[in-house]
């Protein structure tokens, strides 16, 4: 069973979003997602300063067998991208919830996170997937 974290919320498309102490939100992909993708070879990250809508495609994560779009879980402005992934894309596989984060944004509405899946809901979704 893939690892999940309880301090984040999830999208059904397997992104996670974490509210930081300073009110910004960090986004990445879950352990389940990195496992399904296989070895990550490249990540295309959004430009800093870009304003994004909820559900907008903001990044692409590429493995040998797939290239998946990453969607913004909430609306906001991109304030930073994890440039370390340029030279070490495998970090996404090794530490998907920690060093493998994709980008950070300043939300327009920090209550928006509450609309996302709770860790329990997400675990149930993954269990259904894995049957």
């Amino acid at each position: 069973m893939a690892e999940t974290r309880d301090n984040v919320r999830y999208l059904p498309s397997h992104e996670w979003a974490r509210l930081e102490a300073d009110g910004t939100v960090t986004v990445g992909i879950s352990d389940h997602a990195q496992d399904a993708l296989g070895d990550v070879v490249f990540v295309e990250l959004p430009e800093v300063g870009r304003a994004v809508q909820v559900g907008e495609e903001v990044a692409v994560v590429e493995s040998v067998k797939a290239a998946s779009d990453i969607y913004a879980p909430i609306a906001g402005t991109i304030i930073s991208s994890n440039e370390a992934l340029d030279s070490a894309p495998e970090t996404v596989n090794e530490a998907p919830f920690d060093e493998g984060w994709f980008f950070r944004l300043q939300p327009t509405d920090d209550k928006a996170l509450n609309e996302l899946l709770t860790p329990e809901d997400y675990r149930a979704l993954c269990a259904a997937d894995d049957h």
């Binding site: 296989g38 070895d39 070879v41 490249f42 590429e62 040998v64 894309p89 495998e90």
Partner: protein
């Protein structure tokens, strides 16, 4: 070793040097600032080194001439040498594409007749030979559908429907033509879900792209209802000709209700695959789409002379798709193939492709393999699923494929269609003998045994080829796409 690693400054293939007496570099002085000053960076080797290097490289390849290649949906049949020989006759080989009509009647007569044969074989009203591959043919077909609706003033039709099992080029093409793609589910029996289709069609439907037999290797039994459903909603029906080999001479897409199709001459008409191309993807259309055909096509005047038909003859054409008129040399080979086979021969293609596939499917089933659609007839191809072997022996379809290489067989298509897990899509084609097929079954039987008694042998295969399994993660992470010479 790379050709560059054989390179030494001063090595050369002198017999190829063309400079006549008196052609000195000074004659290029008029180029002034345009002159290149950097070196070209090509390898410097002798003629024998080139010949030896590439001859040795060639022997590292699998090829139809050497091995059985049961790649589903690729139709790896024998590439007749006679077709290659006639396409290489000097008068054809040296003909410039822009030669005047008076010096083109030989080529044009072959192209014109090929157009007619393809119309007949597909049940269509008009054909254009210009698309240079199946994907370009698809592009032409979908672009014609778009042009048709726009001409009618109907701008609401922005959706193209595609079965979920469709080949990736189908949705990619639809998007290239400015459409939105909508997927239709496929049932457990391998047919398009007719109820889902009925729910999906409407005023936004430009058309449905599909193939028959489908990518699941079975005949779409409800094709007439599908055609009716799409047509009633005002959409058009596109036929992906990848699987035409199954029905060549037996069923015509035009009779099934398709409005437009492309053919893959490098599949059905036996033109050579060449390590990845060239292909050729002529399109055929019914009367509704004939005004939009890509140009140029070939016409014949009353006095029997042939000429090019262009935008003056087809004013609503979607336009030109290639610099000249498509892959002419490939068209000549397809023409030659059609002449060698004749009507009778074409009829037999569908028959024997189907006989071979059903025999192979039955034999593999008897050897313990699981067919994806055991209750259905195989068409020219069929699917085996290795989901059980993957679960119990932890040996995947990819592992089976790699181990087959050790037995001297090219692997079938793997992991397509996506909706059957751990699948092998197997197409023997009609040019393979019973003995060859039996040999393949024997190898597959052995490998199945190995998977149970010595799985490591399979999961680490191939063992007998010039290289073992390649690290494709490294290939994508540490991109090395050109040799860097260290001076």
């Amino acid at each position: 070793m790379l050709i560059y690693e054989h390179s030494r400054p001063g090595r050369m293939a002198r017999a190829q040097y063309v400079a006549a007496e008196g052609v000195s570099s000074e004659l290029a002085n008029d180029l002034g600032v345009h002159a290149r000053s950097s070196t070209l960076g090509l390898p410097e080797v002798s003629e024998l080194e080139v010949v030896r290097h590439y001859t040795n490289l060639s022997s590292k390849n699998f090829a139809i001439d050497k091995q059985f290649y049961p790649l589903g949906s690729c139709t790896m049949k024998y590439n007749p040498r006679g077709a290659h020989a006639v396409a290489s006759i000097p008068g054809f080989l040296k003909r410039h594409p822009l030669a005047p009509l008076a010096n083109s009647q030989g080529y044009l007569s072959c192209a014109y007749e090929l157009q007619n044969y393809l119309k007949d074989v597909t049940g269509m009203q008009a054909v254009s030979l210009t698309p240079m591959a199946g994907a370009q043919g698809e592009f032409a077909g979908v672009a014609m559908i778009r042009a048709y609706h726009q001409k009618r003033g109907d701008h609401e039709r922005v959706e193209i429907l595609v079965p979920e099992a469709a080949h990736g080029t189908n949705p990619a093409t639809a998007v290239m033509c400015g459409f939105v793609v909508r997927e239709i589910p496929v049932t457990k029996e391998g047919d398009v879900d007719l109820e889902a289709l009925k729910a999906a069609v409407g005023p936004r439907t430009a058309g449905l792209m599909m193939t028959n037999p489908s990518t699941c290797g079975v005949f779409e039994r409800q094709i007439q209802e599908i055609a009716e459903t799409v047509h009633e909603a005002g959409g058009l029906l596109y036929y992906d000709g990848a699987n035409l080999n199954a029905i060549l001479g037996k069923v015509r897409p035009g009779d099934m209700g398709f409005d437009v199709l492309h053919m893959n001459l490098h599949k059905t008409f036996a033109t050579p695959h060449g390590g990845g191309g060239p292909g050729s993807g002529p399109v055929g259309v019914g009367a509704r789409l004939a005004p939009f055909l890509p140009t140029p096509t070939v016409g014949m005047d009353e006095d029997g002379t042939y000429r090019w038909l262009d935008h003056k003859d087809i004013p609503d054409t979607i336009g030109r798709l290639s610099s000249f008129m498509g892959n002419a040399g490939i068209l000549l080979r397809a023409y030659a193939y059609a002449r060698l086979l004749g009507a009778e021969g074409m009829n037999r293609v569908g028959e024997y492709a189907t006989l071979n596939a059903n025999y192979l499917a039955k034999s593999l089933e008897k050897a313990g393999y699981t067919l994806a659609y055991p209750a259905r007839r195989a068409t020219h191809e069929f699917i085996v699923t290795l989901a059980s072997e993957a679960k119990h022996q932890h040996v995947t379809a990819m592992d089976f494929a790699k181990r087959l290489l050790d037995y001297g067989y090219h692997a079938p298509t793997t992991y397509f269609p996506l909706l059957v897990p751990e699948c092998l899509l197997i197409e023997p084609t009609e040019t393979e003998s019973k003995a060859e097929i039996d040999g393949f079954v024997a190898a597959m039987t052995q490998i199945r045994q190995e998977a149970m008694t010595d799985p490591a042998l399979v999961t680490t295969a191939p063992h007998t080829l010039p290289v073992t399994r390649l690290d494709d993660v490294k290939a994508a992470r540490d991109l090395d796409l050109a040799f860097k010479v260290t001076a």
